[in-house]
């Protein structure tokens, strides 16, 4: 039965997908390209296009051109599995994506089964690499627990915080950040958590939560979530004259946050990927983006560009499109990218990629050394 069905599937796939791996190397690009999270996914598509165009202009990888298979899954798990199976049946040799942790979790069992390499520029859920369940998964961004650790260390060592209010947006990402922060604070035992609460995204206002923060007497607020809730929260905190340090994650380290929150954003701390704007390759990537798309690149463009470079390099060094060889190359070969010289560890996290702490000063994020 299995053999028969396998044969039939193979025949069908061959009929539909055409000859696999004939003259182009197909790389899938999956993520949210429409819907409310599109702004997190589209920069990755641009990065993939830029790298692919550059490589193809030089004659491709060993004479084979790169072809991008771009698929939108709106960050929805159920669509992500559809997209994953579509990419496999279309003959992708590796995947750049997915964007959101939830969609990534839904699609990874399919890639693992098909033995297909995927590199995400933005899925930061620690479980993805640390659980060891997904051997074919890599990423060019550090995981959430690293950010929470950085935030807690800053609060305890530099700001001298004694009472923490941990808030989150009840999402996968925000709640994870707040929970890691709680673990790290309890581990160090120098301060206490006086409030741990989930906000309701989309609520009319946050005045009751703000009063609760004041009542708890917290001197430091750590918020896990994205910039829309963060700017709403910070402006209400300032309106109600709550004076507490505000530390958040890379969902908030976005220029939109400063522009929406205006003067209220001043003094806010947020972690984000290390500042690599001085690297030559990064400058070149930025300029290429402006030249081709006429705008500054958006969220996760840098890790996406680096992921694509690493992937292309690995395919080149591996000498074939065999997944085992590509993974071997990803783990052993150092590659120069726009975020530094990187390779991946056994779990799939990039070595030498980490977070820095930033603070809003005079309407700009400034990296704290």
């Amino acid at each position: 039965m299995k053999g028969l069905s396998g044969l039939l599937v193979a025949v069908c796939l061959a009929l539909v997908a055409g000859p696999v791996g004939a003259d182009t190397i197909k790389i899938g690009v999956a993520g949210a390209h429409s819907g409310d999270l599109a702004s997190y996914g589209l920069p990755t598509v641009n990065a993939a296009k830029l790298v692919a165009d550059a490589i193809n202009a030089e004659g491709g990888i060993r004479g084979q051109h790169i072809e991008l298979l771009i698929q939108d899954e709106e960050c929805k798990p159920e669509k992500a599995t559809n997209v994953a199976t579509k990419l496999i049946s279309d003959g992708a040799v590796a995947i750049l994506g997915h964007i959101c942790s939830g969609a990534t979790k839904a699609s990874l069992p399919i890639y693992t089964e098909a033995n297909l390499v995927s590199i995400s520029p933005s899925a930061t859920s620690p479980e993805l690499t640390q659980s060891g369940q997904y051997p074919t998964f890599f990423r060019t961004i550090a995981s959430d627990d690293a950010q929470a650790k950085l935030g807690v260390d800053l609060a305890l060592d530099t700001l001298g915080s004694k009472k923490f209010a941990l808030l989150h947006d009840k999402g996968d990402y925000g709640r994870g950040y707040a929970e890691y922060a709680r673990t790290f604070i309890e581990e160090r035992g120098e301060a206490e958590v006086v409030l741990f609460e989930g906000l309701t995204p989309g609520a009319v206002d946050y005045s009751a939560v703000v009063q609760k923060v004041r009542q708890s007497g917290a001197d430091t607020i750590m918020f896990g979530g994205y910039h829309p809730e963060a700017s709403k929260l910070i402006s209400q905190l300032k309106k109600k004259r709550v004076q507490a340090h505000f530390i958040s994650d890379d969902g908030v380290k976005d220029d939109t946050f400063i522009k929406v929150a205006g003067p209220d954003a001043e003094g806010v701390y947020a972690t984000g990927p290390q500042d690599v704007s001085d690297l030559e390759l990064n400058k070149a990537a930025r300029e290429a983006h402006v030249a081709k798309f006429g705008s500054e690149p958006g969220s996760f463009f840098e890790p996406a560009y680096a992921a694509m470079l690493a992937l292309v390099n690995a395919i080149d060094k591996a000498g074939s499109t065999d997944a085992e060889k590509i993974m071997e190359a990803l783990r052993t070969e150092f590659v120069d990218t726009n975020i530094g010289t990187i390779r991946f560890d056994a779990k799939g996290d990039a070595e030498g990629v980490g977070f820095s702490m930033y603070q809003v000063q005079d309407g700009k994020y400034v990296e704290l050394k």
Binding site: C12, T81, K86, S89, D90, E113
Partner: protein, 421 residues
């Protein structure tokens, strides 16, 4: 004569010009001005205004024409198929062999389909069939029993989480979880039905909406037991007699499971309609007080409707969890309930063929409209409103059994002497 015609044309033109002016005014701030509050620049997009004006001018003619047609057809004929089509169609419908052949062909088509299309298309077909099952389940509650129900996604979620939790904590397999998911969802449906039995109409709609949101929020806040917003991953796919199948093979396997489930649902629901309970439900829909006077057990029958309807949602949920292998609460929002309800209403309440067509319309259309991804949702929304305005009974309205009563005193609104039951 000429003068009169000219007057009519002028009158129509004037109407359309006014409509187009109105829409140009109405859409002015949103369509024309584009402010960038970040760098304080303003863009004036006057071409949009011209486009709106022209579009409103042309469309207003169509609108009035369609309205007139609708009003004209409302009185004599119940079906708004064109006359020739109705005649031909009726001819075919009378011919039973033709119908059986068609059904057989469709069955055959669906059976061989996964072998000829790609895994991706099989996946879409699975989604389609899942929505058919969901729609048919809801149809028992909304279409047959006439109870407004806005929380179907909650039971879909209960089914999905039943399987995920049973397999995570107790190691249950798919085939044991499938009936259990259905039973748990049905029990939850009956449990919800008990307190809300007294409510009718819109109140019921609101309570079910509230219940749907509560279930989702509880799943989100339950922390480590349900995984909270992170959801549950690595849900096992169904196994075929202990054999390990690849992703593509499992997809085809799931396709057959959901196809079989859809067939069972279709047969069960159409048998239900003609059963004692089904008749009682339809009677309750028309007049509750009269039913009670006739000795129909209102409570029992309504509970039955809720239980039967939500059980199918539970089955569909189990299959959904098995297919995606990852679930989280954001898959079961109010929007999901609205989509399932739209399938039932767009298709035609109480009609099985309508629900299938409605599911095809709402699930397959957005998938194939990917090329217009930007405009996909707005087209979908427009279609929903237009369908309701011009064909409120749905694509394929339910046709009850016809009994012809030859009674000269019986003169119904539509002038006929027969009444549909």
């Amino acid at each position: 004569m000429e003068q009169a015609r000219l007057n009519i044309i002028l009158h129509e033109l004037k109407k359309s010009v006014l409509v187009s002016l109105w829409f140009m005014f109405l859409t002015f701030p949103i369509m024309v001005i584009r402010v960038n509050t970040l760098d304080h620049t303003i863009m004036w997009r006057w071409t949009n205004m011209a486009m709106i004006g022209c579009a409103a001018f042309v469309l207003s003619f169509f609108w009035r024409w369609a309205m007139k047609k609708k009003e004209a057809s409302a009185v004599p004929a119940k079906s708004s198929w064109p006359h020739w089509a109705r005649q031909n169609w009726a001819g075919y419908v009378e011919n039973k062999t033709w119908i059986y052949t068609l059904q057989g062909l469709m069955l055959l088509g669906f059976i061989i389909l996964p072998w000829i299309v790609s895994t991706y298309k099989t996946n879409i077909l699975i989604s389609f069939l899942t929505y058919v099952v969901l729609g048919l389940g809801l149809n028992i509650i909304v279409g047959v029993a006439g109870l407004l129900f806005l929380g179907h996604a909650a039971f879909y979620a209960i089914g999905a989480y039943s399987y995920a939790l049973l397999s995570k904590y107790l190691g249950f397999g798919f085939w044991i979880a499938l009936p259990m998911g259905g039973i748990i969802a049905a029990l939850a449906g009956v449990a919800l039905a008990f307190p809300v039995l007294r409510l009718r109409g819109d109140y019921l709609a609101i309570v079910t909406l509230g219940f749907g949101e509560i279930v989702r929020l509880l799943l989100e806040n339950a922390g480590s037991f349900t995984g909270g917003p992170a959801g549950i991953s690595n849900i096992p796919r169904p196994q075929f007699f202990g054999m390990h199948l690849s992703v593509a093979e499992t997809n085809i396997y799931i396709y057959y499971i959901v196809f079989a489930l859809a067939l069972v649902t279709i047969i069960a629901v159409s048998r239900l309609k003609d059963s004692r309970i089904g008749r009682a439900l339809q009677a309750l829909r028309e007049d509750e007080i009269a039913c009670e006077a006739m000795g129909i057990d209102r409570v029992g029958v309504k509970l039955m409707a809720f239980g039967l309807g939500t059980a199918w949602a539970g089955f569909a949920g189990v299959i959904f969890a098995a297919k995606t292998t990852f679930i989280n609460p954001s898959s079961f929002t109010f929007f999901e309930s609205a989509i399932i309800l739209s399938i039932v209403v767009l298709g035609g309440m109480g009609s099985n063929a309508g629900v299938i067509l409605g599911a095809a319309f709402l699930v397959l259309l957005p998938e194939y409209l990917r090329a217009f991804s930007e405009y996909r949702m707005i087209l979908f929304a427009t279609a929903m409103v237009l369908m309701m305005v011009f064909r409120p009974t749905g694509l394929i309205p339910a046709r009850g059994r016809r009994y012809v009563v030859h009674d000269p005193d019986l003169d119904l609104d539509d002038g006929s002497k027969s009444k549909e039951v």
